[in-house]
Amino acid sequence: MHKTNTTSLAQAVGVCIRREFLLLVRRPSDLLNPLLFFALVSLLFPLGISPTEAILQPVASGVVWVAALLATLLSLDSLFRQDLLDGSLEQLLLTPHPLSVLVMAKVGVHWLMTAIPLILMAPVLGAMLYLPTQAQGVLMLALLLGTPVLILVGAIGAALTVSLRKTGVLLTLMVLPLYIPVLIFGTSAVHAAAQDLPADGQLAFLGAILSLTLVLAPLGISAALKVSVRQ
């Protein structure tokens, strides 16, 4: 009988990361859209409310965070859909390696390619909204802790709705309530930093939520993918 020596998990994860990286690099529009959306939403608020510093400055952190939240959600809608359509998602289920680890590779690369540029852009938009410079650092740190949670929880929603043709509002309705803790602690961290108050309490909380999500979300994503593919 055939002696099958399956590749090691590390090798499989490495290959998945490389493939995801290649796929995203070769389709840059998918990376650019969320960033443009992020900038556009931040632009709307001064137009919608008022350009004066007195009004914009206190809401700056909230605006940047809400825009980041929505931009991440936008980038998640098509996370698994193309894989389902071309059949590579069911092949991912058919590998002998645990699906939750392989999915982490895919979601991790997605975070790297969409959230990091977003984090680097945030101070620019913050400055445009008169966010004090001493809060910029905390804003980037809070986003660094918060965006993985947004993407991991959003990926569960994306996996649940991958088999549906149009999901738009459904994904938002399912996932946004789960983003509320990140929004609350994220905005208040930046708010505190803007008033020269220590923000490490809020950042610690973001870190706690991040570690919980890092442990549980992959299980949720792989369970959701199995439900969606096995139809």
Binding site: L160, M174, P177, I180, G220, V227
Partner: protein, 262 residues
């Protein structure tokens, strides 16, 4: 003991058994909930004493608190049914979860509206960003998310399994959301009188509350069984026991594709 539990577990797993059993339980639940709700509300409206600070608007607590408790326990039930559905793939828990979500949602809505109506005389407006009301609003959106997902997926068992995962993710997040909203409320609102905090209640106040709570739970079970039986009929409409149940004459020649799914 273990195998009797398993056998009971599997018995409940079969829709036919559930249909017969629920048929026997429902009259009792109906009676209990009608009596408790009727007596409870009359007691609460007419006989319970007024609250010295809030006046008669306090009587809304007999509706708001049971609805809020029911809203959260229904979500817990959704998550537990979800775990059973995912682990043991039992058709009945899928059906019960599908039936449970709308009731939970309407109880959350009831708790939300009664909470804000209760606040009007004291706050002067019908909505303030009170910690508990905001958490209740978030819970309502969690319910609507689950119901929207159940509705979007065509195949009933995939829809049930998908919404089971969302319910489990939601139930893990509820304490986090509750704490963060609480923390956010105290951060922005100096500790004014927290309206929805139940002051220590004398006997003649919490007795009607207990009565109403029992009534609400009985109503919840009754409505759950009603909705679940409806789902059972939909999903089992091709089986022989449903055909006999409808005591219609089965087709003259035996239907070859007939499969007696228990």
């Amino acid at each position: 003991m273990k195998d009797t539990l398993l056998r009971w577990f599997h018995k409940w797993g079969s829709p036919k058994w559930f249909y017969d059993l629920s048929g026997r339980w429902m009259p009792w639940l109906a009676g209990l909930s009608l009596i408790c709700l009727l007596v409870g509300s009359i007691w609460a409206l007419a006989f319970a004493p007024m609250d010295y600070q809030q006046g008669n608007s306090f009587r809304i607590i007999y509706l708001h608190v049971p609805a809020a408790i029911l809203a959260q326990s229904a979500y817990m039930l959704l998550a537990i049914l979800g775990v059973i559905t995912l682990v043991w793939r039992m058709k009945m828990t899928e059906i019960l979860a599908t039936a449970c979500a709308p009731i939970g949602a309407s109880m959350t809505f009831l708790a939300l509206v009664t909470g804000s109506l209760w606040g009007v005389p004291t706050w002067g407006t019908w909505w303030i960003w009170d910690a508990r009301l905001t958490s209740m609003l978030v819970l309502l959106f969690l319910y609507l998310g689950i119901m929207a997902l159940q509705d979007a997926i065509r195949d009933p068992s995939s829809a049930a399994r998908a919404s089971a995962i969302l319910a489990i993710v939601g139930v893990i997040n509820i304490p986090i959301i509750k704490y963060s909203v609480e923390w956010w409320y105290t951060l922005h609102q100096p500790a004014t009188f927290k309206l929805t905090e139940k002051p220590a209640m004398p006997m003649e106040m919490w007795l009607p509350l207990l009565m109403m709570l029992i009534g609400f739970y009985a109503f919840f079970a009754w409505s759950l069984l009603l909705r679940a039986r409806h789902q059972v009929l939909i999903r089992e409409q091709k089986t022989r026991w449903v055909t006999q149940l409808l005591d219609a004459k089965p087709a003259t020649k035996s239907d070859p594709s007939e499969s007696a799914k228990s």
